[in-house]
Amino acid sequence: MQARIKTLVVATVVALPLAAQAAEPLKIGILTDMSGVYAGVGGKGSVIAAELAAADAGGKVLGRPIQIVAADHQNKADIGVSKAREWFDTQGVAMINDLTNSGVGIAVQRLGTEKKRITINNGAGSTALTNKECGPYGVHYAYDTYALAKGTATALMKQGLNSWFFLQADYAFGQSLQNDAAAIVSGMGGKVLGTVKHPLATTDFSSYLLQAQSSGAKVVGLANAGGDFVNGVKQAKEFGLKQTLVGLLVFDSDIKALGLNTAQGMKFTTAYSWELTPEMEAFGKRFFAKAGFMPTMTQAGVYSSTMHYLNAVKAAGSDDADAVMKKMRSTPINDFFAKKGVIRADGRMVHDMYLVEVLKPSESKGPWDQLRLVATIPGDVAFKPLSASECSLVKK
């Protein structure tokens, strides 16, 4: 009996500090669309990417285990914000990543400013995040609508495709993408013949497509994404649309869903594809081994930014948002995703973007061999210059 009590005491004494340590993991939240139109873009792939980053960091930072938590915001800003609030207030989540859907992304970044917590947008595209809505703890990492529009619209205008009709997802992101693209088209002497707005997650695009057809525009620009983009392109084929169809935000997963037969020849701008460089390929293959599909630029961005965040926590010696942000801004990002990437005062992470073209079925060598690099767009050309930013944090 005595011996048993002794062992118990010894066990408790040994276990106590361990338990105290285990009780305080560093939590990173992946807030994303798990079941809607953008589930393929972010979704569980983003959770896998974050887990991969946590594992690559050794599973621990500053002696604390790294824990990835995830939730579905259902593309609704109110649900996203209440989840984020719960995470910040009661779960001790230190940073939220992914944030696919600009409506949710903007709302959660605002909450981050209020609560002094870091939010990293990899899924949301709206440039409002680094302009009117910018915040001291908000980072816009993978891409934004300005960079997408700049890359794609410029390339098509140079081919003489100078009259456009837009199909736009009717919320913050679609508006931002259409505005940016229309500005580039008119800035280069082209014409915007019309725009029609459709609700997020539209199943029937036929009426909008017919309006695009009868406008006589040379280009039909799809200022939407994910499932909406895929449905729009499929139905354009169904109705025999003859105009040049352009996706302003296209992910590798969309091309996979459409198939090369339907998507061949399309040009679009991206921040990442496993086919672009050997380093990107190495990451893509590691991700594929865990997920069973190749990562999108959002998912690749989640990995890269989570890694950058963890390194900053390590360097700062604390998870205090001000200290970590300072380190994140002062350290350039050099990995498979970005070379000399910099987080500016407005929160924009500046890195190179890539103009790519979808291969013909005969050119493809495997199930995920679908793109060809057309041009690399240097970061300072791709993104809106800091001098033009409307962010109040930028000193002018």
Partner: protein, 300 residues
């Protein structure tokens, strides 16, 4: 924006396409309301289940059984409504039957609850954004050139097929002996019973028919729209508006208003797109002010 004649015609074709769906769905609702006095809020859910029956039969059943061939579109066109209809009969026999004698509100609450349950269960397992149905028959692939527009062959088929079904149901209910039994059994059950008509059996049959129509509409819709747990609730409000405008319980009213409102919606999409989602409800409000029983309904 200058509007060309062919643009209007094209939108009208699409309107006809939507209108045919509205007609098919509101027809089932009108049959159920007219004969059973039940406001069937689960109608959208049955439509959704019809589409899922087609999807599951084609993609999931073979995987489950380990076979190569699933249930194709043509078989689904028969099996989908049948399965959905049988589920309807089960619900009618076990639950709905008990509510005929009480206020409409109880039937409405029951069917609304059932709709939420069906939707909730399927949302657990399927993507709300919808899954594509790949079973479109090969002979209906491609598009037909109508002169003013290129129209997908399958959509053309769905218009013609829906209209044929609508007419067949109208004929069955209004022009055949079985139809007269059905109407007699619901209009005056006591007298009908005195003539030796099995009234409870006729009621089940009526619910089967109404619900099977929703299931059929679901199967026809599967190749056009993505199959999703929410597809029914998106449509049901519009369909109810159609039934209210046409006059609750009027079969011909449901068919004609369904088509007319589809066309109106199509026309509005050309002239002022943002109004397209609202125009049906504006018409509904006006009709209710002017003729509270609906365009084809009789005051009771």
């Amino acid at each position: 924006m200058d509007i060309s004649f062919s643009a209007v015609l094209s939108q009208i074709m699409l309107g006809l396409n939507n209108g045919a769906f509205y007609a098919l769905l509101s027809l089932g609702l009108a049959v159920i309301f007219g004969m059973l006095n039940v406001v069937n809020f689960a109608h959208g859910a049955f439509y959704m289940l019809g589409a899922f029956a087609a999807l599951l039969g084609l993609d999931y059943l073979p995987r489950l059984l380990g076979s190569d061939v699933g249930i194709g579109f043509w078989s689904a066109l028969l099996l989908g409504p049948l399965l959905v209809g049988l589920l309807g009969v089960l619900i009618e026999k076990t639950m709905l039957q008990r509510l005929y004698k009480v206020d409409h509100l109880y039937g409405l609450l029951l069917t609304f609850g059932l709709a939420l349950i069906f939707e909730g269960v399927l949302t657990n397992y399927f993507n709300v954004a919808g899954e594509p149905y790949s079973g479109k028959p090969a002979m209906l692939e491609g598009a037909v050139n109508l002169g003013f527009m290129v129209f997908p062959a399958y959509r053309l088929f769905s218009i013609v097929f829906s209209l044929l079904v609508c007419f067949a149901v109208w004929y069955l209910a209004e022009r055949t002996r079985l139809g007269s039994y059905l109407r007699a059994g619901t209009e005056n059950p006591d007298v009908a019973r005195a003539f030796g008509i099995d009234v409870p059996m006729l009621r089940s049959l009526t619910y089967f028919l109404g619900v099977a129509l929703a299931g059929l509409a679901g199967v026809v819709a599967a190749p056009i729209y993505s199959v999703s747990p929410k597809m029914g609730s998106d449509l049901i409000i519009v369909v109810f508006a159609v039934v209210v405008i046409g006059g609750m319980g009027s079969i011909m009213g449901a068919i004609v208003t369904g088509l007319a409102l589809g066309l109106l919606e199509g026309a509005v999409k050309v002239f002022y797109p943002p109004l397209a989602n609202t125009v049906i409800f504006i018409v509904m409000a006006l009709v209710l002010l002017w003729r509270p029983a609906g365009l084809f309904g009789k005051e009771r």
